[in-house]
Amino acid sequence: MARLILIAAIVVVAGAVRAQPPPTSQPAPPAGDADRGKTLFARNGCYQCHNYEGQGGAAGPRIAPNPLPFRGFTAYVRAPRGDMPPYTVKVMSDQDLADVHAYLRSRARPRDVSTNPLLSR
């Protein structure tokens, strides 16, 4: 099972890389509410693969604090190329996704690994 998850994770990463957005000549994305995005991220099951901070894990790649640009992010969430479950407009509106996107962008960047004694040996 763990092997399947790893393979799925690889596929999701590959899909995410391919899902880069088209050049910007489109309407600006809706402004996002990070607090509301945090609630949606947990309530709608995003955390299940990406964990609560979007830091990724065994079942899904890291998507915070620098998610794909919003258009590409939305395109991928609506029609994932890998194993990720699709989120249609019926269950998450564009505004919902904008809020989640804002939440992911708001996540803290990690401190320098070399200063963390538990990660430097």
Binding site: M1, A2, R3, L4, I5, L6, I7, A8, I10, V11, R43, N44, G45, Y47, Q48, C49, N51, Y52, E53, Q55, G56, G57, A58, A59, G60, R62, A64, P80, G82, D83, P85, P86, Y87, T88, K90, V91, M92, R107, P110, R111, V113, N116, P117, L118, L119, S120, R121
Partner: protein
């Protein structure tokens, strides 16, 4: 005395022992008349002088001889939840056998008994024994037997049963008896027998051990007839115990091995994929030799401790097979799954992970023994050079063949390749450390932080990870000894982790190693009584909970269905979460006799709690730290 003669006399002795006292109806199939005047257990019978002719005791029984046989094959332990159908041999083990080699371990569930054997065998390199009822006990044990079967691990299972219907006590003994006890698990055991005499038992017991220990290894079953266990045995009775000799494991055909070496040496991007390869401590050393002779990258799957995690040729994190021109698969359980990606969407699809023309070499004993019903053999993989043989046993010959086929030009190519792979391996470790640092201070605790904190506490000990989930330990820790990882469940049957960890810790105990278990919460709830077994038998084991308060794998599956149908994506947790109330695993463990702390939600408290638990473990006791974690 020949065996037939012995049996005849033993049978006569048994008949004498069972001769009914005066006034008691004989046990016979003859038509019954009125009820006996004096019931066997009546107050009158209890208080009256015993009849002169009735023999109620014996100095030696068939089950004593069975214990002699079990000692001869070298069973050190027997795990059992007690059951009347094997009461005879139970008593023989603890009294006649002195409760040593084998020693009886008290278990609270037959699934725990078998899974303990599963974890133990992968460390010790040999099985332990399990006693269980042939009916209700085996039904409890079945899932754990299936896991061991899928994982190619020997477990020596002995089932009590009362075959003779006229000898059964009324009531439960009938419900606990069966015509063909082993039938229920025959699809996922390698061999079974139901001996009808002690010489038959002796031969089958030795045969069963030999079969279980010959690759591909697997569980075996012996049915111990209750009559055979409890029949009196003459004091001077002698029954031969056959000599046990374990067959050497099958080594690959020399021409096929030479061809494999030729392909590998000629390859520009060879990759070695190893899964259930290392059966013994020598397995890892052989694989290191092969990888270094070729300067080939190694992708070690989680089946066994195949390859050091920080070896410069370890590409397990990169899983880089896309550019491979030759892949050597060593005891890979799911080769198709390595070579292909399966997309689990509404319309299922697949795509190849390797480029066209990639040559596939497979060495596996799995090709030597397959059954039909259960589908653990996985999807059919196209292989160019299949070698039906034991992977570990074949490696020395393959290393020699590779060295013979390597000239100076190829050696220079290999060295150049090795330098690039070393850089990729180093970069993978740095990437893992960086990834682990995200959400470092989050609560619930990240699984990366959990593993980093644990590593910080154990890294200077003689440690071994006997069970775990998620993969962060393999990414962050320096596994460089052949006993530091014990593989997974094999059949993905949940409930394996805790008992297998206790069994593995039992095997590590005599080596004085610190056995560490990263324990999933859902897994522990199947049979938490195994923690009591660890406490009762003083089996030192450090369990740190990866408590995500859910059967999370299944939660993700249900979420996928919710999304697919676009109805109620917020309801995916129903039926899979373990909340309301959250389970207090520290209290559960304390109640079972362990030092335990938690639930811990502050990541800064994890390290100190582990340190305190380690103090208990170093005193020879199990301990548990419950950490509330992020999902994966």
């Amino acid at each position: 005395m020949n065996r037939r003669g012995f049996l005849k006399r033993a049978s006569l002795a048994g008949a004498a022992a069972l001769a009914p006292p005066a006034g008691v109806e004989p046990q016979s199939p003859a038509p019954r008349a009125a009820a006996p005047a004096t019931p066997i257990m009546s107050a009158a019978a209890e208080t009256s002088p015993p009849p002169d002719v009735e023999i109620l005791t014996t100095d030696r029984t068939g089950s004593d001889f069975m214990v002699d046989v079990l000692k001869s094959i070298g069973l050190d332990y027997i795990c059992a939840n007690p059951g009347s159908s094997f009461r005879g041999i139970h008593e023989s083990v603890i009294n006649y056998g002195g409760n040593t080699q084998p020693e009886l371990l008290t278990c609270c569930h037959e699934e725990s008994s078998v899974a303990m054997g599963h974890g133990y065998a992968k460390v010790e390199g040999k099985p332990l024994g399990v006693f269980a009822h042939g009916t209700v006990g085996l039904q409890h044990a079945a899932m754990a037997i299936y896991n061991a079967w899928c994982d190619r691990v020997p477990v020596y299972i002995m089932l009590g049963n009362q075959l003779d219907a006229t000898m059964r006590r009324p009531g439960a003994e009938w419900a606990h008896s069966v015509q063909d006890a082993a039938a229920m698990v025959r699809d996922f055991t390698k061999w079974d027998d139901a001996p009808i005499s002690l010489p038959h038992f002796a031969e089958s017991a030795v045969r069963a051990y030999k079969i279980a220990m010959t690759p591909p290894m697997a569980p075996v079953v012996l049915v111990l007839n209750a009559e055979l266990q409890e029949q009196p045995l003459a004091a001077d009775a002698r029954v031969a115990i056959p000599k046990l000799a374990i067959p050497s494991p099958p080594e690959g055909d020399s021409r096929a091995v030479a061809e494999a070496a030729r392909l590998l040496v000629a390859a520009e991007h060879p990759v070695i994929v190893a899964d259930r390869l290392a059966r013994t401590p020598a397995g890892m050393a052989h694989l290191v030799e092969l990888a270094e002779a070729l300067q080939a990258g190694v992708v070690s799957q989680s089946g066994r401790m195949n390859f050091p995690t920080r070896h410069p040729l370890n590409l397990s994190q990169a899983r880089a097979i896309a550019d491979a021109d030759v892949i050597l698969a060593l005891e890979v359980g799911d080769l198709w799954g390595v070579l292909n990606t399966f997309r689990d969407q509404l319309h299922r699809s697949t795509r190849a992970n390797v480029k066209p023309g990639t040559k596939i070499i497979s060495i596996t004993s799995g090709d030597l023994y397959v059954k039909a019903n259960y589908q653990d053999f996985q999807r059919f993989a196209e292989v160019d050079l299949p070698i039906a043989a034991d992977g570990e046993a074949t490696l020395p010959a393959l290393v020699d063949a590779v060295r013979r086929a390597t000239n100076a030009d190829r050696k220079r190519v290999f060295e150049s390749r090795g330098a690039k792979l070393a850089e990729a391996s180093r970069a993978a470790l740095e990437r893992a450390r960086l990834e682990a640092s995200y959400a470092w201070d989050a609560s619930p605790v990240t699984t990366a932080r959990l593993c980093a904190e644990l590593w910080g506490q154990i890294r200077n000990e003689d440690w071994t990870l006997v069970n775990g989930t998620g993969g962060w330990a393999q990414r962050l820790w320096n596994f460089d000894k052949p006993y530091q990882w014990n593989g997974g469940s094999g059949g993905a049957g949940v409930g394996y982790g805790a008992p297998a960890a206790v069994g593995a810790a039992l095997a590590h105990k005599r080596h004085g190693r610190l056995a560490v278990n990263i324990q999933a919460d859902g897994d522990l709830m199947y049979a938490p009584g195994v923690l009591w077994t660890a406490a009762h038998h003083r089996i030192p084991l450090l369990s740190v909970m990866h408590n995500n308060r859910a059967y999370h794998q299944e939660l993700m599956h249900v979420q996928k269905m919710c999304n697919r149908h676009s109805r109620g994506i917020e309801r995916g947790r129903i039926g899979s979460e373990l909340v309301d109330p959250p389970i207090d695993y520290a209290k559960v463990a304390q109640g079972l006799g362990l030092h335990a702390e938690g639930p811990i939600t502050d990541p800064n408290e994890v390290g100190p709690a582990i340190a305190r638990a380690m103090a208990s473990v170093k005193r020879g006791e199990p301990a548990l730290v419950d950490v509330v974690c992020q999902p994966r």
